[in-house]
Symmetry: C2
Subunit: 134 residues, 2 copies
């Protein structure tokens, strides 16, 4: 079901400073930036092979990433797996009795279709499923 790691989502306190730090220390260049209002984040993507490193800045304290930063501090927020069909993946997970955050796919950044799986179900890891726009 999993085609690849689509990205690792990393919550950061200071988006611009973190982008600069990743550029300088890891020698990566950002390839995409997007403000995703309904998720309350601004994201910057760095390509890493066929995957991405995703830095996530919060658009406010009362957003999922804002609350994550307040309680856990900066760090890995979620792991996103690329699948060919998010709806089919959700059906499989539902069939295994897995609790979902999103019961149906919704629009993500880069015109993707996405859905989140509840972290309680996957050993404390918030998992996102990502279907690239066909």
């Amino acid at each position: 079901m999993i085609l690849d790691i689509d990205h690792v989502g990393i919550a950061v306190d200071d988006l611009e400073g973190s982008v600069e730090r990743y550029r300088r220390t890891l020698g990566v260049e950002p390839s995409h930036r997007e403000r995703v209002e309904d998720q309350g984040v601004e994201e910057v993507l760095f390509p890493a092979g066929a995957s991405f490193i995703q830095l996530l800045g919060s658009l406010g304290a009362d957003t999922p990433v804002g609350r994550f930063l307040a309680t856990r501090g900066p760090g890995v927020h979620h792991v996103a797996y690329r699948v060919d069909d998010v709806a089919a993946s959700l059906a499989r997970l539902r069939g295994e009795g897995v609790r979902l955050v999103d019961e149906v796919p919704r629009r993500g950044s880069r015109d993707t279709l996405i859905a989140f799986v509840h972290p309680k179900e996957m050993g404390g890891v918030l998992i996102e499923l990502v279907q690239i726009a066909g």
Copy 2:
């Protein structure tokens, strides 16, 4: 400098139960299992494109992953980036004043060369650099 995400390392309380859960829910099959005594872990790898999902069971409470589980609970332990030359990457990081966990590359699982970067330096994310055996 970064060729790909080599793997995402996920600390789990129950390695066998977690392997089974990943197999059933995400439809992935383990491709490698290794006990790494000097890191105090047993790891199971699932391929995801050119990357891996790495489940990490602790070999005891007094190991890095054992302490991580005791203080943070199960979840993402580290993110590993594939590079072509770990020694050169360490030199670059050192040149940028980045504090390292490993000053020189050491042997990892799968006959890789690896080094860890201090999480305080990279926004709370423990980063591993991985050079595939040539």
